[in-house]
Symmetry: C2
Subunit: 411 residues, 2 copies
């Protein structure tokens, strides 16, 4: 462990400077991928890379890399750190940006304080992590790791009808490099937790050892519309009641589980949606997450069985549609151990944890040893202007990333 | 009991003839109150009254009366029978129209078969029972029974911006009579059940002894929007879960009740309604009905208590807004007994029952002894083109109304 440190004031200043770009007249932040606002953020980021002496590379999907090749490191696989700088609509300033700016800060701290890594060190800002304008999300890292064809991704049509490829050319970030051109020796992503666990437990650092698998389903329940006054309770096929039973079932399953399973019904709709008519149809979405694939499969199976029972008991027809499914990702246990070790040496409290959200790290994990570091999010709020991580935690997390990078860049 | 009978073919023919008026290009039936289509129906109805030798009277709110004053009945309070001939949008042909046409049929059967009542007999068609274009519903009978000022009702603005008073003048049904000008000795309304009970139980006739009180509330549940992946189940304030618990609570209450309580959640909405965001707000409507006021009050109280408990347990804020409230109506036990007796003599199976829907009879019950007769609705379907009562049931119900009228018109 070296005893160098990042420049906390510069780190915080840059996060705020980037966070001021892309605001509308009401002050709302939105830097949707490949928009004019995204270009403002990208240009600012690149403007920081060059003075740090980094080679700037942009690939065909618009991922930006700042590459430091210290003397003697040529030919070695680089250590890569990064995240994304696109945002959702009405966003906070930390999600993604923190990881990118902290990675740059790590490189500059190494340079300024005379730490010479034995392999190249790279800061990466991946395109379109949020997926608000162009689907799917985490697109830049997905393409980079070979999970999606570059040309197919460039042909994606945005919610505003624009083609991603056209938009990247328009904002001057359609680069020449082939995605995947730099294969990392290791990848570390520092990120705000976007959840309440670290804050509630009073812990400084999350050593993220895995990332939940996600199962998204749309459930359609068909019952019979009838008069709310004239139809006795026992003679109803109430699609809305079926929907409610699914919500309470999921809660009971999650509470009874000894594992960090989460389940959410975020969307719901009744038809005809009239105060005095028993719903003939209810549609709802289920977001089911588990860090272990076998358990996630078991939850999906149990849900399916419950739906069959519910349909039979209530005289309903229930159909399901898979909207999305990703397997859990297990991060590199070696890097997680380096994170824990570094946290201990910095005097930071830490715990192993699961990422409940998706991150670029899950894509890069398919091509390189990968792990993530979380810092606390106040009240767990994210994707919201109230998103906040305290400066002291931002600085501690960046210093931890520096320590981890020093280990990984020497190995 | 006399042994006269109504003309079944004429009854059915008139129901179908009236049901063919007011259809759009796609065949959908809609005779909204005081519309051109309503005028078509009204004109047809009046065209049947005059040949039957009835005096036609129209009051200021547009209620139509066909009055038969047999010799020697002058000065006596009339027996009134009736219902309404306006419809909902995309309606069936039986709701309301059956009761009006059957009442006319009863009068004609009396006249044609030499039954001489000792008091006037009146068929009434009340304005705007459905309340689709002008609120409130049951307006004509409400005004007639003194529950709403006539001029206030005429000043009602429709969903299309039209004034009811203007529209009644336009279609030539703003009559000179003051609402309430005929105080009935008794009122009987024959109606399709609009519910599944008679059909499911294989019973011919419902002797309707009361009408449910209705409590409509809008519930707003505020929780905290958080990330569906990163927020452990135990750290959530999930407004959607709160909504589901209300739905299942109401079902449990209704099933546990020894009384014919019904409760329905017909409308629901989540915010932000995103698949991966825990709902920050859920709004839903509750339609709670009970035939006994004290029990309805008790259900409202128990619900309110449950909502307080739920809010505390789940960290939610729950507010309620009363949308509508009507007390139960108890019909005249003497007339109900006449209905039962007449059914027995006709060899029809019957049961006492509660009306789950609102009807003009509940308004007239405030000024005269009143009861209703229900006939089975196939599958309980109503307010729908699939609304159906079998011809044999329509004829049996009209004959029963005739028998009941013969008793009441002689008393």
């Amino acid at each position: 462990m070296t005893d160098i440190s990042i420049d906390g004031a510069r780190l915080i200043g840059r996060i705020r400077e980037l966070g001021n770009l892309g605001r509308d007249g009401d002050g709302r932040l939105a830097r949707l991928a490949a928009s004019d606002a995204d270009k403002l953020g990208r240009d600012l980021f690149v403007s920081w890379l060059r003075p740090a002496g980094l080679d700037v590379a942009v690939d065909r999907i618009g991922n930006i890399f700042g590459i430091w090749e210290p003397p003697g490191s040529a030919g070695k696989l680089p250590l890569m750190m990064g995240s994304h700088i696109d945002t959702v609509t009405n966003a906070g300033i930390y999600d993604g940006c923190y990881g990118v700016i902290a990675a740059l800060e790590v490189i500059e701290a190494m340079q300024e304080q005379g730490f010479v890594p034995s392999r190249p060190v790279v800061v990466a800002a991946f395109t379109n992590e949020e997926g608000v304008r162009f689907a799917p999300d985490m697109m830049g890292s997905l393409v980079y790791s070979g999970g999606m064809d570059t040309d197919a991704a460039l042909a994606t049509v945005g919610t505003d009808g624009a083609l991603l490829g056209d938009e990247l050319r328009r904002i001057d970030f359609a680069g020449p490099e082939e995605p995947g051109f730099l294969k990392p020796a290791a990848y570390v992503e520092l990120h705000v937790e976007q959840g309440p666990v670290l804050e509630r437990e009073g812990i400084d650092i999350g050593a993220v050892e895995n990332l939940q698998g996600i199962s998204w389903q749309k459930i359609t329940i068909d019952g019979i519309a009838n008069h709310a006054g004239t139809t006795p309770i026992t003679m109803r096929s109430d699609a809305g009641y079926g929907a409610a039973r699914i919500v309470t079932y999921l809660r009971e399953r999650a509470l009874a589980s000894t594992s960090p399973m989460v389940a959410t019904v975020g969307c719901i709709e009744f038809e005809p949606n009239a105060i005095n008519v028993i719903p003939s149809r209810a549609t709802l979405t289920i977001d089911l997450r588990h860090p272990v694939e076998d358990w996630l499969l078991e939850e999906e199976r149990a849900l399916s069985e419950f739906l069959s029972r519910l349909a039979a008991e209530e005289g309903l027809t229930i159909s399901t549609e898979r909207l999305a499914r990703s397997a859990p990702v297990v991060f590199d246990q070696g890097i997680v151990a380096v994170i824990e070790d570094a946290a201990k040496k910095r005097g930071l409290s830490y715990r192993r944890m699961t990422s409940g959200a998706g991150h670029d790290a899950q894509m890069i994990a398919t091509i390189a040893p990968t792990a993530m570091i979380f810092v606390p999010s106040v009240a767990g709020i994210s994707h919201n202007p109230a998103e906040l991580t305290r400066d002291i935690d931002l600085i501690a997390g960046a210093n931890l990333l520096l320590d981890v990078a020093c280990v990984l860049a020497k190995s």
